[in-house]
């Protein structure tokens, strides 16, 4: 997807407008690009796309856009402090700056799937790339059919976006179910999120689309279960993750078969990549 004024190779400065600690090791940064043209270009960002975030002096990491453009900020990024760069990003305060390149890649095919029932299945930090997709469905609710969200975490303490999930569940516009390996809350399933798929009613599988994001093993299992429930393999979408340096299909690291995860993905129809990720 080509945007005028996006910066593919050189970062633009972005200031941290707001920062939320979502859970002990997960935080959200609300970033605004200093250059007004770059800031405006994020209006076209699609949920599921990603950016390369630069932490000064440390390095760059690919982070999915959790939520998109408002006048106040170019994008919201939800990040798990796990590696070298993300731990340093986690120490940054409001008012400090990072570098941003993007948005990159193919996002969730929301526009292409109007009037379909939607199932969103996520695990752990994998909920972040779907956050904007859920908000989009709620914003344009009558363009989509019945929508289910299934989200799994290791421990209920790991749940992020708690207020949003609670609010959405109250509206009954979408149906949200949770699973935790340990310490499930009341009404939660104890165990894997993929178990919740069996309990899901899928009345018209050929008119249902599914977005999946989480650990690769979980995504493959979920996709296979949905295939058994008669969903077409090109109606099941996964968000893949690989080592990324350039974000634009030049450095070669993110390849999975003939697909560049950064530019042909990260969102893929399962049919396109199942032979390369299923072992």
């Amino acid at each position: 997807m080509k945007h005028e004024n996006t910066n593919h190779f050189t970062p633009g400065e972005a200031t941290i407008i707001n920062r939320i600690q979502e859970s002990p090791d997960v935080f959200s940064l609300f970033l605004k690009l200093t250059d007004p043209k770059l800031h405006q270009s994020y209006i076209q960002a699609i949920p599921g796309q990603f950016v390369m975030v630069y932490c000064c002096g440390i390095g760059e990491v690919p982070i999915s856009i959790a939520d998109g453009f408002t006048e106040e900020y170019s994008c919201q990024l939800t990040i798990r402090a796990h590696g070298h760069v993300t731990r340093q990003l986690s120490a940054l305060q409001i008012g400090e700056s990072v570098g941003l390149r993007g948005p990159f890649g193919q996002g969730w095919p929301l526009q292409q799937n109007h009037h379909k029932d939607v199932i969103i299945i996520t695990g752990g930090i994998g909920c972040a790339p779907t956050f904007g997709a859920i908000k989009h469905i709620l914003r344009y609710r009558n363009q989509y059919g019945t929508t289910h969200v299934l989200h799994g975490v290791k421990h209920s303490e790991d749940l992020i976006y708690c207020d949003d999930y609670q609010q959405w569940n109250k509206t009954a516009a979408i149906d949200i179910s949770f699973a935790a390996d340990t310490n499930p809350l009341p009404n939660w399933h104890e165990g894997y999120v993929t178990t919740l798929i069996d309990q899901l009613d899928i009345p018209t599988p050929d008119n249902t689309v599914c977005f999946i994001c989480g650990p690769e093993i979980m995504m493959i299992k979920a996709a296979e279960q949905l295939a058994q429930r008669q969903l077409a393999l090109n109606n099941i979408f996964l968000s893949l993750e690989r080592n990324m340096h350039c974000g634009v299909g030049h450095c070669g690291h993110c390849q999975c078969g003939s697909q560049f995860i950064c530019k042909d993905g990260p969102v893929f129809p399962y049919e396109k990549i199942c032979n390369k990720i299923r072992n």
Binding site: K2, H8, F9, T10, P11, G12, E13, T15, T34, Y54, C56, G57, I58, G59, E60, E96, S97, G99, P215, E241, R242, N243, H245, C246, V248, G249, H250, C251, G252, H253, Q255, G257, S258, F260
Partner: protein
């Protein structure tokens, strides 16, 4: 562009001098230690006169040959790739200004270069890399260097035993994307121009039209060169049989995972980025990487490709299968460098042949 001209050997110096006068940094092949390397060229005498090369799997040696010939050799280890896609360079810099903000500045460094004595396989490889770096988004450093290049091809009279450009679908004579192409004959070169810039140079050198005999001699040499190549290249189909082929383990038992193949290959484009400290701030450095490197496939705490077998598979499958889906052509140009420079003497054409067999008798 169909006229052929003759450049006598003494005029080779005039060619170089003219290009230097036009502010090109002239680069050409020279003997360096025990191999041929492309380096700064100011004098025609620096070229590898009387030098040939002998290649075999895991073997490369310079030989002594006819002293009137400067291009009686096949190819150099490094190709012309480093002049367009640099081995290491800074791509942007960042500084904190007085107000605590950070300012990013792209770094696009290049100067016009004239590459003299480029082999046809390296032109083919350049066109392969064009599809990587000149597609959307266009890599600005590659594009700037590419645009300001002056290319003098010397067609290939002496392919090595490892060469297979013909089997790869190409030829010992370049057909496009050069400013001047030359074929060496007994006392000079039969020359054709391939661009306006090339035509101007031909005129400035006041070259005479080549005689029918000279053109014939050039064609004879090229025909003989084609016949010297014996390697074949089988086709591979990406399917379960290929993924699970037992021959991958056979290769893994011999491959030492050094990645030399990726370093001498003129089409490999993997590179890594890292942050380096400078006196004023930081710079982002890009340098060549290799899919054989331990952390090339690092994701979520560990490399996806943990062993030599999976890494070799990635390299070969990319070169001969995935590249076609990505860029509409094979990634291999048949230069044979990976065969010459592999310390284990692995011949990629032999491996592809085994992998293309469906009965699992190896």
């Amino acid at each position: 562009m169909n006229n052929f001209y003759f450049l006598s050997q003494p005029l080779l110096q005039d060619l170089i001098t003219l290009l230097i006068k036009q502010n090109y940094q002239c680069i050409g092949p020279q003997v360096c230690d025990s191999y041929i390397q492309y380096d700064f060229l100011s004098d025609a005498s620096q070229l590898p006169w009387g030098v040939g090369d002998k290649h075999a799997p895991g073997f490369y040696e310079l030989t002594s040959t006819d002293k009137t010939q400067a291009f009686a050799w096949a190819n150099s280890p490094s190709s012309i790739k480093p002049f367009l896609f640099k081995q290491q360079e800074s791509i942007w810099r960042v500084q904190r200004n007085g107000a605590g903000k950070i300012c990013f500045e792209p770094v696009i460094e290049y100067q016009p270069q004239a590459l003299i004595g480029v082999r046809p396989c390296d032109i083919t490889a350049m066109l392969v890399q064009d599809r990587v770096f000149l597609a959307d988004p266009v890599e600005p450093r590659y594009a700037a260097r590419r645009k300001s290049l002056f290319i003098v091809v010397v067609n290939c009279n002496a392919p090595s035993a490892n060469c297979f450009c013909i089997a790869a679908g190409y030829d010992v004579a370049a057909k496009e994307q050069f400013d001047i192409a030359m074929t060496e004959i007994a006392d000079g070169f039969v020359v054709e121009s391939g661009s306006d810039k090339g035509a101007v140079l031909v005129e400035q050198l006041q070259l005479t039209i080549a005689t029918a005999q000279q053109i014939q001699e050039a064609n004879t040499r090229l025909t003989k060169a084609r016949a010297l190549q014996t390697k074949q290249l089988s086709k591979l189909t990406d399917d379960a049989t290929l993924s699970n082929h037992p021959h991958w383990q056979n290769i893994a038992d011999r491959c030492v995972g050094c990645g030399t193949c990726t370093q001498v290959c003129p089409t490999c484009f993997c590179h890594k980025q890292s942050s380096q400290e400078t006196t004023e701030g930081y710079e982002q450095t890009r340098e060549w990487d290799s899919c054989f490197a331990e952390n090339h496939s690092f994701v979520n705490g560990a490399p996806l490709r943990k062993d030599t077998k999976s890494r070799y598979q990635q390299w070969l499958m990319h070169k001969f299968v995935y590249w076609k889906d990505q860029f509409d052509q094979n990634g291999c140009v048949g230069c044979g460098r990976c065969i010459s420079w592999c310390p284990a003497g692995i011949d990629v054409t032999e491996e592809v042949k085994q992998l293309s067999k469906h009965n699992h008798e190896t």
